[in-house]
Symmetry: D2
Subunit: 344 residues, 4 copies
């Protein structure tokens, strides 16, 4: 039905075929509800194994915004807010979901989508030195996304430093991994999933954008899952009756490394796309090592491009140019790349 070539985002097809197949195979099994089934259990175990966690707790939720607001609101105390780069997804593109739970997002200017460790340290140090702090929102968690909303990645050193700062202040570090698979498989990263599991207090492994129909796996790494977290999820409307829907998918994604294969496929496609962009002399808005590429394009050329293929308009660059976003996924084909080349 739809024959358009699309680089609009990484969630415009359904599930990876192997994931869908697993839903098919298990469909008629009678399973208990609300995440207590066999597949949720096995998927959790597989995730802990791959993360090198002896005592991790894994909880499956449906989507990214839901996961961010459930995790943040259940871990913050009443007088605390969450620190984020000002470009963070929770700060800009979640329609105020964190605020809906009564919590404030405390922003620090980001650099290429990242929260600079030095800026974080200054923020925390200034806050606790402020005589008026009892009338302010206490920083009670640090939120980072990896990859960020601009496709960039923290280095191992940066992540370690942020983790240390958080420990120093006794504040948990939460990593939003909506696109984690693409970050882990980047050709320019020194951060592995075990590093993340060790350095973060809680993080999630994104499924929706990395091969699943829906679903995110929250990993509490330090025996720190809030008590009765199922109840937290329920009252936030985030608990699936058929928890198997997410459990089976993650069981498939972490069976034999499928999750990483999906990530690699998108990265490979992104590298091919970058060759095309180079050939077509496109300027980068930001140099991203993952599956999202941000390119500055002349407004005239943009119109022609939009007629040919689907892309995302990111923001105005100047009077004559626009920043666009081109995204690959595991489903991006050679044909798509060729169509892009023609369209440019």
């Amino acid at each position: 039905m739809y024959e358009r070539v699309s680089f609009e985002n990484d969630y415009n097809v359904g599930a990876h075929p192997k994931v869908l197949e697993r839903l098919f195979e298990t469909n008629m099994e009678r399973l208990s509800g609300y995440g207590s089934d066999f597949y949720c259990g096995r998927a959790a175990q597989r995730i802990c194994d791959v993360c090198g966690l002896d005592e991790g707790d894994v909880f499956f939720l449906v989507g990214g915004t839901q996961t961010n607001s459930a995790v943040i609101s259940s871990m913050l105390r009443d007088f605390e807010g969450v620190v984020s780069a000002d470009t963070g997804h929770i700060a800009v593109h979640e329609a105020g979901a964190v605020e809906y739970t009564g919590k404030k997002v405390l922003t620090i200017p980001g650099v290429e989508g990242k929260l600079p460790p030095s800026a974080l340290r200054r923020y925390l140090s200034d806050f606790f030195a402020d005589e008026n702090r009892e009338h302010m929102v206490f920083p009670g968690m640090v939120y980072i996304s990896h990859p960020t909303e601009l496709g960039t990645l923290y280095t191992y050193n940066e992540l370690s430093e942020i983790s240390e700062i958080c420990s120093e202040y006794g504040i948990p570090l939460f990593l939003d991994g909506a696109r984690l698979g693409y970050g882990l498989m980047s050709r320019r990263t020194d951060v592995g999933i075990k590093d993340i599991a060790r350095l973060c207090d809680v993080f999630y492994i994104g499924g929706t954008k990395v091969g699943a129909l829906c679903g995110e796996a929250v990993v509490f790494t330090k025996n720190n899952k809030p008590p009765h977290f199922e109840n937290f999820a329920k009252r936030r409307g985030a608990l699936l009756a058929k928890g198997r829907l997410v459990g089976v998918q993650f069981d498939a994604l972490f069976d034999g490394g499928l999750y990483f294969e999906i990530g690699r496929a998108a990265i490979d496609a992104a590298e091919k796309m970058k060759e095309v962009l180079k050939k077509k002399k496109c300027r980068y808005y930001i140099d991203s090592p993952t599956n999202q590429q941000f390119v500055i394009i002349e407004n005239e050329r943009l119109e022609r491009l939009k007629n040919a293929i689907d892309i995302s308009v990111w923001q105005k660059y100047d009077e004559d140019n626009t920043v666009i976003r081109l995204v690959t996924s595991w489903a991006t084909t050679e044909r798509d790349i060729e169509a892009l080349e023609r369209a440019l």
Copy 2:
């Protein structure tokens, strides 16, 4: 893997095969996100058609608790709460999800799970006569479930009367149809889906418990969808990136009457189960015309039963007896019924 016979609930298998098949067929189509795709559109149109609505608005959400709290919290004004029978799902079994949104559930004693029209009228009339009402929560919506949590159904006359009372007081009527398919196909009902669409201001057609993997279709019947409802859903963590997941399923459910077939299959199975219950001289706790049956069983027999098949323990009846719930679905087989007979 799982060979247990189960009458525990109506969400212990996956999706109806025809629904799953449709997910398979459409899997590789590139579709736009957040419910703006072709299938969400077509499913909405099909639902409006079957409801006899010229100007209905249909919005797809993921689960029942999420749907209840999103609809209720987006339609109530600040000073209003929602009126429900004290056995209503929102009042008891949603972990305070309505309260989480800042709203109060105002309860009236239910009769066999239903909100008696006369009690509703008295409640509203007393409220507006009360001199202290400015210090009380205003009734701003009426919530009913159909079938109720006890499997019972409103008659056409009852539903009409509740609808009239709501109109009189200018309060919207919201019907929770988590198991709507089973209610519509009951052999003892005079309420059709067109009646519901005409008499209610908003209702939802349950998918999760009626053949889908997940998903509920909210129908605003009177051109009364709150503006920017997508934004409401987003900030409550209720907006799927791959909205297609629910759209495709409802498109299948309302293609050629599958939704009703599923309902009928469960009702047929329930009737067979009732014959078994009669044969085995089981006492009913409540006489339900739908797919949930509530039976009083001696504690001794209960133990044997639980060893043989999966059922739900509902509540203690007296020292020697317990109320149990037996639930059929479209997936209940002859073999299951026979196993139940043996187990009893």
Copy 3:
């Protein structure tokens, strides 16, 4: 200006003259803000002394509804609600202030305004035996008012039993003492303020209805004040810049027993009023030992009464009779009692 005789409530005049005087005397002193001043400190100490508390924490808030919702919402965990008699102020007459903070009020049928210990025990025991409890709101606090909304009082034995039940379940007991002074000075009570301080985890001493212009003193009795409670209050809009306003008043109220004198004056007036009611053959709706009396009166006589003096209409009793509330305070005079006698 106003010459009407009023038994409408106990907050229809300003402050007790001695309280007002103290505001006058201290008016030009330069004091630090937000409750950190000398008078707040001394008032807190005086309250701890009278309560027999070595390590009590006292926090001053402005009004009763504010106090209830701030205390409840700051002490409950995310998955918990507060248990109350169904006639409790928080359940009925605070416009859903507890729900506004995201928390549910879990009601148990009250008896003459009181929460029966046996009913509380059954409620908690049933809850923790319920297999579905993870989908329900956990009871996380018990709320009682003393005197209750119907003017009744817990006996020492009742209060002890409720306290024990709470300890058993690890749930804090919160006592709403909006009219505490009248309860303590009742001629029919065996509960003193030291008993309350020992048996409750947190309670408040009402000022607004007992001689102050405004203000309630929350007492945390078990070293259990939530950390950063000042911040909790601030974000709920409950922190006064001029905290002295309440501190000075409570310093006066607890200087030499004024609070108790005020209570006794109202009780004495209530006893005189009861003699009048007896003489006039009025029937009681409830036999209250405090300053609120609930009387059943013929509708005809009610009209005449309302023309003569101010009273509160409580509720309809039957077709021909109405329940009214008559309230005394420290400001009730002999002249008022005589006017009531004439009016009846």
Copy 4:
């Protein structure tokens, strides 16, 4: 008792003597509760008169943070947030009270505490041009403070332009007048209270910091008070039982221009203070035309100053210097100014 000279803030003494006197005179009058009394009514009328409003609605609340969060949360729709300068009181110093109500504060970099009209226009224009806006918080109100947190004032032209922008976008303009009296009486302002009433949709006249013990008067200027606002206030814990406490004070403040006299006294004291600062060669951090002065002072001199008198440390300026805040009020005396001169 307290003999310290203080320039710490404008709320460190009690009420203006004439205000306190009025509380004394009316103390024994029997008045109805919750703001329905004679004095609240007369004060509201006096405020409307002074504002040149035919159909203004005035509502009395207790404190500034409470007022901000009650007004903002009751006027915003679900999908909207409030726009503020990043230095705005609601953005920084109210402990997240707006977020506590579920709403987001959308910040724009301020200039000397003010929201620049051009920046506001750009923000709104960009927002409504953004293709992702359905996933963002809609700007639904503009918040400004006057005087600002830095003591600065909007000019008539600036205020008019902001008002026009708001009208253009159909967004209400809310002015926080916690220190309004000092702004109105500044020697460098062309904005009168009638201008504010005409150009804003809602604003409040601060009492706590301008001569009252407590209390703020919210003025809805365009027949736009939310329905059942009393109920909104009640559920936010913001409704005083003895509403007279605030009504009587505002009745006194707007009887014969006392509010303006109080403002003028503080401005006169500030001008005298500025002469001292000039004489002592102090550098200004910001040039404020109202009762708050921000001065850069050497750290060494700061220590001596703090020993002699009470001041507020605002923030670090550089390694050797600190920004301090010096505040006058109606209660500042010649003796205080002389003490400051000596201390500097």
